[in-house]
């Protein structure tokens, strides 16, 4: 078959469907995640002519999460494709997930013909209306000649400034009609940064002055470091000025976990000494983070002794949750590069020592290297996975207890190795997002970690793994409960475990039904062997970890409390370890 020149130097007449794929090829797309249907069929018909791999998902939500996971692992734009109506609405949770975490993604949906738009035609839905609050921008395209400009604009919007998802809804007749395809001519007007970016010399000097004079500074390292590729700059800032670093959930990996200045994760299930340091600090340097309610406890009690510098690309985030003293509004890497020359160095040893001392017994971590008591705790799983994979795997987690345990016990030294839904907290995210990550980084070891609840929300994507013959390892953390909800019921609803006990299928048999190998693990002594087996197995492998049922994530800030009011693991709990267990 002769392939059309999909990236022609001279404008060529193509159908709308061909223009769609040609434009995607021009934008560097090599994989799309999708599900065909009536209104997108012309596009699918043209797909075979283009060097793009299509991954058939089992539910469109999976397609959106795969595109999301692909984007998080690679930093490139992920692409999801769906048909009109239910295909499009099934994308919505995935789009909202990407929106909340600022993930660059382009979703393409088919739409009924422009002649019947607005007539409640079969599988017609106003998807641009529905996704308006959960996309950075969206387009309804009803003419073939508008497809290339819309797609190219979508890619620019998705990646520029604060990234986010963009949806392009293309009517069936636009796909069928023909137009002149001119990739270069369809180039969007040059990106103009948000007009309220504001990082003057005056502000930089103010910030530098605060940093130089601070006695107890803390860097709050967020997702923006990954987005702006500012890892080096953050590291220089921390090392040169001897400033300890606290991480947000989505920031994990942006600054090496093993770095001596990395204190660990902040917030609701963060390390108590990180939260304590934030409360004691006289300066917070917030880098690419948004003072989410899960990291501040309550605004009225948050870091009251601290001046705050906020380095952030989105002006709408300034003073949104926490008022700040100096806002440097711009690209994090560019701002830090301007700021660093103003910072000669500093001795921070006294403050670092006092943080180290404050750890005290709080540094006692639940399970590290505990002698095997026979019981299997989820924390064991995370810790041993971290040890066995040497912290090098890409880990996609779902939402809930296991997500927090992973964040506590799997130490991420490398950027883009933790793929997790932070803002929206979407259950069912891990499996499809892990698939997306595997496509983005086929050479990397990928682990999907999900609870028994969340896993079942998108477990149908096991079939996608089987069909695509992907080497993905899956760890189901099975405690027979919707664990985090159960934990809240235990703490705040008098152990009224309403609707949280969960009867699940035998996950190993479920995997087997898909032709996927698997094994169950009930004790810690079996854990290592089975994980080794999974890693060496030539093909996907699922491990059903049957863990302690009523374990809770500690420490914890109850909602509405201050950062320093963390609940510690009760003393009588057998999981308490000794301070030597590091």
């Amino acid at each position: 078959m002769t392939q059309p020149d999909f990236h022609p130097h001279s404008p060529t007449r193509l159908t709308g469907a061909e223009i769609l794929w040609a434009t995607l090829v021009g934008e560097g797309v090599t994989e799309v995640f999708g599900y065909p249907g009536g209104a997108i069929l012309p596009a699918y018909d043209a797909l075979r002519k283009f060097p793009i791999r299509h991954i058939l998902v089992r539910h469109e939500q999976g397609a959106a999460h795969m595109a999301d996971g692909y984007a998080r692992a690679s930093g490139k734009v992920g692409v999801a494709v769906a048909t009109s109506g239910p295909g499009a609405t099934n994308l919505v949770t995935g789009i909202a997930t990407a929106m909340m975490d600022s993930i660059p993604m382009v979703c393409i949906t088919g739409q009924v013909s422009s002649k019947v738009l607005g007539t409640d035609a079969f599988q017609e839905i106003d998807i641009t209306g529905i996704t308006l609050p959960v996309t950075k921008h969206n387009f309804l395209v009803s003419r073939a000649e508008d497809i290339a400009p819309a797609i190219r604009a979508a890619f620019q919007i998705a990646q520029s400034g604060r990234p986010g998802p963009v949806l392009v809804d293309i009517t069936k007749d636009a796909q069928q009609a023909s137009a002149i395809f001119d990739f270069d001519g369809a180039k969007p007007r040059p990106y103009s940064p948000h007009p309220m970016l504001h990082c003057t010399d005056h502000k930089l000097h103010q910030a530098a002055e605060l940093i130089r004079k601070a006695e107890r500074p803390v860097i709050l390292a967020g997702h923006g470091i990954l987005q702006a590729r500012a890892g080096e700059q953050i590291r220089t800032l921390a090392e040169r000025m001897q400033i300890p670093v606290g991480m947000t959930l989505l920031g994990l990996g942006a600054f090496p976990a093993s770095h001596p200045l990395n204190m660990g994760m902040m917030g609701m299930h963060g390390e108590s000494w990180v939260n304590q340091a934030i409360q004691e600090a006289d300066l917070l340097i917030a880098c690419g983070m948004r003072f989410d309610d899960r990291v501040i406890g309550t605004p009225a009690t948050y870091a009251l002794k601290a001046k705050k510098i906020h380095i952030e690309i989105d002006p709408a985030e300034i003073n949104k949750n926490i008022p700040v003293d100096v806002a440097l509004v711009g690209d994090l890497r560019e701002v830090l590069e301007q700021l660093l020359p103003l910072l000669p160095g500093r001795d921070g040893s006294a403050w670092l020592r006092s943080i180290e001392e404050s750890k005290g017994t709080a540094a006692v971590r639940d399970i590290r290297n505990l002698p095997d008591s026979g019981h299997l705790y989820a924390a064991h799983v995370m810790h041993d996975l971290w040890r066995i994979t040497e912290g090098r795997a890409i880990v996609a987690t779902d939402v809930g207890q296991h997500q927090m345990w992973e964040a506590q016990y799997y130490h991420h030294d490398h950027p883009r190795t933790l793929i997790t839904s932070g803002g929206l907290g979407t259950m069912g995210f891990a499996l499809p997002a892990g698939i997306g990550a595997k496509f983005a980084c086929p050479e990397r070891e990928v682990w999907v970690i999900a609870g028994d609840g969340g896993f079942q929300m998108t477990a149908s994507e096991l079939a996608t793994i089987a069909q695509e013959k992907l080497k993905i390892n899956i760890a189901v953390i099975n405690n027979g409960y919707l664990g985090m909800v159960r934990q809240w019921q235990e703490f705040f609803y008098e152990r009224n475990y309403q609707s949280t006990p969960l009867v699940s299928p035998d996950f190993v048999k479920l995997a087997d039904a898909h032709g996927i190998a698997g094994a169950a693990v009930r004790t810690r002594s079996e854990l290592g062997d089975v994980v080794h087996r999974a890693r060496q197995h030539d093909g996907p492998f699922l491990i059903n970890f049957l863990v302690e049922q009523e374990d809770s994530v500690y420490p914890m800030i109850p909602a509405g409390s201050a950062l320093h009011e963390m609940i510690r693991r009760p003393d009588q709990n057998p999981l308490i370890e000794t301070p030597q267990d590091h």
Binding site: T128, G129, L132, P133, K136, H137, L140, I157, R162, H194, P195, M196, H198, D314, P315, A316, I318, N319, K320
Partner: protein
């Protein structure tokens, strides 16, 4: 407090929804919104008046700018500006009661733009309080107010202080270097 924004937005379908949706999402009530063609081809000009906390102005403006279709946003709450509203008011009036309404219209510098056997229509332009004053006086008379149609506020900064000029002067329009001070130096001219 009431915030007033002037926004230049692309003149295409769905833009009004995007702008309105932003306020809805922030749970902020739009008091009035006027849209019309502007001096720039392809762009409409909106005047948006919204009731929100004092600190909300920055975030609303920053969020408006995040909409792809929004080209320029000026927060003119508290700056020197001319604000006008247009109202059409239909009043029940017959041959006997008309003359009183005529007199009122004259006092308020309003115009009678339609006359029917049982009603007449008044056109009035001015600041909000002037329009409300006329409606109040009409209500106090025998003449029943049958219909009121108000345009919502339209606002323009005084002088040449469009944000483009401010930029050229090296002053940012977000008030960082206090453009209000510049505007305040001009003599106030308000014939009404």
């Amino acid at each position: 407090m009431l915030h007033t924004f002037v926004a230049y937005v692309e003149d295409k379908p769905g833009v009004l929804t995007r702008v309105a949706s932003l306020f809805r999402r922030l749970n902020i009530n739009i008091i009035s919104l006027t849209v019309g063609r502007s001096e720039r081809s392809g762009y409409s000009r909106m005047t948006i008046v919204a009731d929100a906390s004092d600190e909300a102005g920055h975030r609303i403006r920053a969020s408006l700018y995040k909409l792809e279709d929004v080209a320029e946003v000026d927060d003119i709450s508290g700056v020197s500006a001319v604000t006008r509203e247009l109202a059409l008011i239909k009043v029940a009036a017959n041959a006997e009661s008309r003359s009183g309404v005529f007199e009122l219209a004259e006092v308020f510098r309003a115009r009678i733009v339609d006359l029917a056997p049982e009603s007449l229509m008044i056109e009035i332009t001015g600041v909000e309080s002037k329009i409300e004053g006329l409606i109040q006086v009409l209500n106090e008379r025998e003449n029943r107010v049958l219909e009121v149609c108000r345009s919502g506020k339209m606002t323009m900064r005084r002088g040449h202080h469009t944000s483009r000029v401010l930029r050229a002067m090296g002053v940012t329009a977000d008030g960082a270097e206090n453009p209000e001070a510049l505007a305040d130096n001009l003599p106030p001219i308000d014939p009404d």
